[in-house]
């Protein structure tokens, strides 16, 4: 077709009639024979339990069984399945009842977000069909082809091993006994059946497909060719979207006054992968487009790729209004750090660096939008529905009430799904075409265009007196925040508050700067910069402990913050400072593991073991900012208790934890509850799922709502505050009181409830002054990890053999879910320490970017310390980010313990360890 702008229209590929036996039933279907089996199972047969995470065999989420053998359905041509048996997760629950394997997953807490669960189940099913009672090694081998980013694999392996043993019944909690109980996650069954609808699932029939045109350059000026001609040559295309089509402001950002990221770049692209346009049309047509033909021309410009370059005099500004490419700088100062270091008995210092870290959730961003009259509805994976609503309203030029965000299941988030990604594209496409429009990011697209953990360059100095007491510390951090602000300010503000670690540092000066580059935007990732800071501080602590001749664990315990001690921001707590208790809990493990390592090393050989420890603290919720959550709970006249739970459960368990809290506050069993939401039309704003705030903040709101509803009920029943509340059908009883709710129909409110409570909790904080002094958080979570590792000193490879994790959680609402957080977060910490580094343009897939597999994670022993917080629900504190922070420094300290080498530039890959080992003469190696 000459003159068509380079686009070659293609007739749809021919289909072929196929017969295959799917989940025990012969099915006939028409399919393009070369089509991926995963796509045919999902789109033609509606088996959306087959998850697609990479289309490259790297993640295993699409694992199905073909004639009993596990395969990645993304790499199998459908045409090859003629006459074959294909089993998917949908076949595991016979008659709708969970099978033994699924039941074991539910009981063990093996599913968190649930996106890898179908693949894990099918990989395990294949093993169990040939070996009904496999050992741990066989289970690990069998699961090795499926990546999980949430669980750290431990509970998955346990679940598969449990299938061969006596089934364990589900824990049932009586009224008032839910808090502390190991309840199955309330939203677990759909995840295990492959029925949970994630962003790519359950689209309306005929949903149009949206694909983005993205910059191949980190910095480039661009111009469109003849878009009208391209459209004309492709009559099936329904819309081509560019910045000109954005009805409101072509900007978004999680921090409203710094919103700087365009939906579609205008004239200049500031990072590789930035969207400049999108095409919309029927799914098959758009999926087959070669977007290299899209009429856009690029003029590459000199990029600024790291902070050193960005801060150089005369460096090109990424944004004209931000001189020196400085987005923002945060600082905390107390006492005279320089003077204290000058007088210290020992001072250690060091330079540290970390790279971009990719969240690597197994669900790439996905969702669909539809226009409903003059409103737009967005069904997509997200961690922050109300923030999405408000930002999207500004983009669409609509009132916030005209935007409805209905979060789908979220297949992992870890911070990157706090920012808008594809929501503006699908909303615009649906708005302009009037038809539902959806989008599924490819793995490379997800990796190149969404936020990352900030690369850090840190210089720190820490001093102690002769008695091993900290006297002062300075900390300078430069964080590569990439092309747009995203959560850069949050990192810059949070890091100086936390860089002391959970210790008494009387003289302290810390600064952290967020600096722009032409890299992908760095945003939120589990810890907001604190994990990077903790690497520097905790690694230097070992050197300092050695310098003053104090045992490394004892050094930390001696300096740990206690009740009444001022933090570096001058805040002190009257209760709930559990870091000392965490170190104490680790003491026997420390002695034992060090003994084991010494015995192992005494035997000689080229492998050496070492043990390391690191502590952490993490403030729950926003730093010195309003941070409210609102929870609504009501009873209808049929006696159903409905919890409007707007805290997005991205796998961490807020659906379950918040219900447990509300149930005990109300005094009715969890079984009595029905959950609604999150949905911005149906649930009050419970804030974003980040900053370890949902248990602490939304949980506290749920506790208040539960108590408020209880008070109403008891008052109506004329019962005392301690009375036991009993709900049978529609009949409520307490003390002598009895009430049939059905008889109250006339009193139902606008939500249909005869009794309802809606309560808000906003943790009390104060602003930080110009020296960073104030009360930035109402509570901190505390913890410490011990790692024992084994190093192959000839090759520089490391195996983490054991991790002991002690966390002060205030109150363990659901110990199984807490352990899952610890195991999963520490696996991410292990990745940060040993293997993960995202290199823009080079590691945009899950085989060049490595995350831990089941074979890389250690046995994890979790110790839950309960030092109640004054504000948290039943005393509970957050756990989400706490669990990741100490792992990497504990591993690095174990490496130094084993070999004497200090790795300060992460990740500590085999080549870096090997090079460092070579730098030591054999005589000085311990």
């Amino acid at each position: 077709m000459p003159g068509d702008g380079g686009f070659r229209a293609r007739p749809a590929a021919a289909t072929k009639r196929l017969r295959m036996r799917v989940n025990g039933v012969w099915r006939g279907l028409d399919a393009v024979p070369a089509a991926r089996l995963s796509a045919v199972l999902r789109e033609t047969l509606g088996l959306e339990g087959v998850k697609v995470g990479c289309d490259a065999g790297d993640c295993g989420a699409c694992t199905v069984l073909v004639d009993d053998a596990p395969v990645c359905a993304c790499m199998v041509p459908a045409g090859r399945m003629e006459g074959r048996r294909v089993d998917t997760v949908e076949g595991l629950a016979a008659g709708g009842r969970l099978g033994r394997l699924q039941e074991a997953f539910l009981r063990s807490g093996a599913a968190q977000c649930g996106i890898c669960t179908p693949g894990m189940l099918m990989a395990a099913e294949a093993l169990l069909r040939r070996d009904p009672a496999p050992d741990r090694a066989a289970v690990e081998e069998a699961l090795a082809g499926v990546l999980c980013r949430c669980t750290g694999y431990a509970k998955i392996v346990d679940a598969v091993l449990a299938v061969g043993t006596e089934p364990v019944a589900a824990v049932r909690a009586e009224a008032g006994a839910a808090v502390g109980a190991r309840l199955d996650r309330l939203d677990g069954v759909p995840k295990l059946r492959g029925k949970e609808a994630f962003g790519a699932d359950a689209w309306p029939a005929g949903t149009l497909l949206v694909r983005a045109v993205r910059s191949p350059h980190p910095h480039a000026r661009f111009a469109f060719g003849d878009l009208a001609a391209w459209r004309a040559a492709n009559p099936a295309i329904r819309a081509v979207l560019t910045a000109a089509d954005v009805p409101g402001r072509n900007l978004h950002g999680v921090i409203p006054n710094l919103a700087d990221q365009p939906v579609f770049a205008e004239e200049v692209a500031r990072f590789r992968g930035e969207a400049v346009a999108a095409v919309v049309g029927p799914r098959e047509i758009v999926a087959a487009l070669d977007l290299d033909d899209f009429p856009v021309s690029w003029e590459p410009l000199e990029p600024v790729l790291d902070v050193a370059q960005a801060r150089t005099e005369g460096a090109a500004p990424v944004h004209p209004g931000r001189p020196g490419n400085l987005l923002i700088e945060g600082r905390v100062t107390t006492g005279d750090a320089e003077a204290a270091l000058g007088a210290a008995a020992a001072v250690v210092e060091g330079d540290f660096s970390t790279g971009f870290i990719e969240h690597a959730y197994i669900e790439p961003e996905a969702g669909f939008a539809r226009r409903v009259g003059e409103r737009i509805e967005v069904h997509a994976c997200t961690q922050a529905p109300h923030m999405d609503r408000d930002d999207l309203a500004a983009i669409m030029g609509l009132a916030p009430e005209a935007v409805r965000i209905v979060p789908t299941g979220v297949g992992g988030g870890f911070g990157a799904k706090l920012d808008l990604s594809l929501q503006p594209f699908i909303a615009l496409a649906a708005w302009l075409t009037g038809e539902p429009a959806g989008m599924v990011y490819t793995r490379p697209e997800s990796m190149m265009s969404t936020t990352k953990r900030h690369p850090a360059r840190i210089h720190a100095r820490i001093g102690a007196d002769a008695a091993g007491r900290l006297v002062g510390m300075t900390f300078e951090g430069q964080f590569n925040t990439g092309a747009y602000a995203s959560w850069g300010p949050t990192v810059a503000n949070r890091v100086p508050v936390h860089a002391s670690g959970p210790y008494r540092v009387p003289a302290y000066a810390a600064r952290a700067a967020a600096i722009h580059t032409h890299c992908p935007p760095a945003g939120a990732f589990r810890g907001f910069g604190v994990p990077q800071a903790a690497v520097a501080q905790e690694v230097l602590f070992d050197e300092l402990a050695d310098a003053v001749g104090v045992d490394r664990l004892e050094f930390r315990a001696r300096n740990a913050l206690g009740v009444g001690d001022p933090t570096v921001t001058g805040q002190s707590f009257a209760q709930g400072v559990g870091i000392g208790a965490c170190f104490a809990a680790l003491r026997p493990h420390w002695e034992r593991l060090r003994g084991e390592a010494a015995a192992f090393n005494a035997a000689g050989g080229t492998r050496r073991r070492g043990v390391g420890v690191a502590g952490m603290w993490y403030g729950c919720g926003n730093t010195s900012l309003a941070n409210p959550s609102t929870i609504r709970v009501g009873i209808g006249r049929d006696g159903t208790v409905t919890l409007h739970q707007g805290a997005t459960d991205i796998g961490q368990g807020s659906n379950t934890v918040i219900t447990q809290i509300c149930a005990d506050a109300l005094g009715l069993p969890v079984d009595a509850f029905r959950l609604v939401g999150p949905d911005t039309d149906l649930t009050p704003d419970a804030g974003k799922t980040s900053a370890s705030r949902q248990t602490f903040v939304s949980g506290a709101a749920a506790e208040r709502a539960g108590r408020a509803l209880r008070e109403q009920l008891l008052r109506r029943l004329n019962a005392g505050p301690e009375a036991r509340l009993i709900l049978e059908g529609s009949v409520l009883r307490a003390g002598e009181g009895r009430l049939d709710l059905r008889e109250m129909a006339a009193e139902a409110n606008e939500h249909g409830y005869v009794f309802m409570a809606e309560e808000t909790f906003d943790p009390p904080t104060t602003p930080l002054d110009e020296n960073g002094q104030g009360e930035p958080y109402a509570a901190y979570g505390w913890g410490a990890h011990l790692a024992m590792i084994e190093v192959d000193t000839e090759l520089g490879t490391v195996r983490v053999r054991k991790l002991v994790a002690a966390h002060d959680v205030g109150r363990a609402i659901n110990p199984t879910l807490l352990e899952g957080q610890i195991e999963g977060g520490s696996a991410q910490g292990l990745g940060l320490a040993l293997m993960e580094e995202y290199l823009p343009g080079r590691t945009e897939n899950l085989h060049d970017y490595l995350i831990p597999t089941v074979g890389d994670v250690p046995e994890v022993e979790s110790i839950l310390v309960e030092d109640a917080d004054a504000h948290g629900p039943f005393g509970a504190k957050g756990i989400g980010e706490q669990v990741l922070i100490p792992t990497a420094p504990a591993i690095l300290n174990a490496l130094r313990d084993a070999t004497g080498i200090a790795i300060r530039d992460l990740p500590a890959t085999p080549d870096r360890i090997h090079a460092a080992l070579r730098g030591l003469s054999p005589r000085t190696a311990p």
């Binding site: 395969v71 041509p77 490595l850 831990p852 074979g855 085999p910």
Partner: protein, 287 residues
């Protein structure tokens, strides 16, 4: 427009390949599908998995004939003499179980990745590539067949039909080690495979040594192989010399710098030699 053909016989497949369309040959699909991405919908694929004559492992005049379509799972599970251990060990390192269940031995070779796990072991075993084409059948040593990164000596209209491995006898042993930055599902930083065939007195009569991911193409270390001949039991590892890996040309990439590769190779070789030589059992894994 895109096309798909799945012939039932080799002749039929060769006829299709001889035609004018630019067919991509599809076997296991574990390299082709990820590589194609959305271009899958625009490609012409010749699916050769219906060619039953290209399956299975059979003894024959050229030693063992491993049909091109034999999967890595089939190799890992096959009842083969001990000298095949390196190949079986490499089979278990090709991606994941899911990949091993469909990926084929010929696909690993023809894809010609410098980090192809199977190619290294096949090279150490002295494998040859059996090729069918418009001009009939031919066999080429694997080292001559893989000519560069993603480049093989396959003419127009030709298909690989099998790999053949000489019978090294009951006394021969082999070992394969892969070095990667994580335990499973990992692309190699470096690999080594060693095959040692002792004579009746236990002295090495023949040796095959190959190294992967350290040059555009997996390489045999012929100097080392020659030096190993005549070695007494337990003496092989001691015959390693500093310059043995000098013919390699490792590169810096996202997985590791060249220097590390060069330094890891002697360790891998020594451990492979020790494992084959029966002197040590310390070669269990490379990390």
């Amino acid at each position: 427009m895109s096309g798909y053909a799945r012939p039932g016989s080799l002749d039929e497949a060769l006829d299709i390949l001889a035609g004018p369309r630019g067919w991509r040959v599809l076997a296991g699909g574990t390299d082709l599908y990820p590589g194609l991405g959305d271009a899958l919908r625009r490609a012409d694929l010749l699916d050769i998995t219906g060619l039953s004559e290209l399956r299975g492992i059979t003894p024959g005049e050229h030693g063992y004939r491993i049909g091109a379509l034999t999967t890595w799972s089939e190799i890992a599970a096959a009842d083969l003499p001990p000298f095949f251990d390196a190949l079986r060990q490499s089979a278990r390192e090709v991606g994941s179980v899911q990949i091993q269940n469909v990926a084929t031995v010929a696909g690993n070779v023809v894809n010609a990745s410098p980090a192809a796990d199977g190619t290294v072991a096949l090279m150490a075993l002295g494998a040859e590539v059996e090729i069918a084409g418009p001009d009939g059948a031919r066999r080429v040593p694997i080292g001559d067949f893989v000519t560069g990164v993603r480049a093989v000596a396959l003419g127009p209209g030709e298909l690989v039909t099998a790999l053949t491995v000489p019978d090294h006898g009951a006394r021969a042993r082999s070992h394969f080690l892969k070095l990667g930055a994580r335990r499973y599902l990992v692309i190699s930083i470096a690999m080594a495979a060693v095959m040692l065939r002792p004579d009746a007195q236990g002295r090495i009569a023949d040796a095959g040594v190959a190294v992967g991911a350290c040059a555009p193409v997996a390489r045999r270390l012929t100097g080392l192989e020659a030096r190993l001949r005549g070695a007494a039991p337990g003496e092989c590892a001691a015959r390693l010399r500093d310059g043995d890996a000098e013919g390699l040309a490792p590169i810096d990439d996202v997985r590791a710098p060249a220097r590390y590769r060069a330094e890891a190779v002697p360790v891998l070789l020594r451990r492979c030699l020790e494992a084959c030589d029966g002197a040590h059992d310390g070669a269990r894994d490379a990390g």
